[in-house]
Symmetry: C2
Subunit: 159 residues, 2 copies
């Protein structure tokens, strides 16, 4: 009983998960601050624009965006509303399916994103510079293995 009484935090899997979380938060917060200072924009908006940029000019359905970014549907509705109001993205009806909206960046949106993306890439390069190429590859490999081992059900995006 006395060993079960006091919960420990030294389960190796748990420790690994907490380490993943802390690295993620540290970098995420840094990027969030940089986006705000350099471009007066937010991380979620940047993420959506990146997703749209990657798939322009074909565009993406609302549902594809939320699936790929792993957030809920209603969330994306609001962010696209904003981007649309700012003239950075636009919805267009799908001629084959009346329920679907296809979202694309406007040319202003593309131009804006390209400006942000170059700096963003530099930030990430800088933050990852503590690992050499081999370590980076190893880390990527291990994370890929972990991701691919997760229950299929979790991974609706896939890539």
């Amino acid at each position: 009983m006395s060993d079960e009484q006091r919960l420990k935090f030294d389960d190796p899997a748990l420790k690994l998960w907490l380490r993943i979380l802390s690295v993620t938060k540290l970098i995420e917060n840094e990027v969030r601050g940089n986006l705000r200072e350099s471009f007066k924009t937010t991380l979620p908006r940047f993420d959506v624009m990146a997703e749209l940029y990657r798939y322009h000019p074909k565009g993406l359905r609302m549902g594809e965006i939320s699936q790929n970014l792993m957030v809920t549907n209603g969330n994306i509705t609001g962010i696209i509303d904003q981007l649309a109001k700012e003239g950075l993205a636009e919805r267009s009806a799908d001629p084959d399916d009346g329920r679907v909206f296809v979202v694309r960046l406007t040319s202003a949106g593309k131009k804006r994103f390209e400006k942000m993306a170059r700096l963003h890439r530099d930030w990430i390069d800088g933050l990852m510079a503590g690992l050499n190429a081999e370590e980076r590859d190893q880390l990527l490999e291990l994370l890929s293995k972990l991701r691919n081992s997760l229950p299929e059900r979790l991974d609706k995006a896939h890539e």
Copy 2:
């Protein structure tokens, strides 16, 4: 020009960062759903309780909680308000410094957390089961190296 014109996403550091993010989100969403289904609670509440549990019985200041969890101050105020209302945590004034509140789990809070933590640990064990012990250690090692290489300024928590 033609190579710069069309932005690429294949920068190795960027690819690694996106992989870290996707693994994090997949696991986080799974845990969030499990907490809701099994305990009708939320991930942020669980995180705060875990942090408090780890440091009971000494308790933590509001600011220590937000620093350790890497979220903003105002955020924690609301969550502690909730936990206090539910009788799971309590604030007490610091006799030496009138600005400070020290927060502790109540015994009900401790008991509740222990119940959740065991299941939570099992979920994480399950989600990490795709890696063997050696891979897990390697991954932890690489993430630690990455975290320690990040600018000091980012890491106010430290552990």
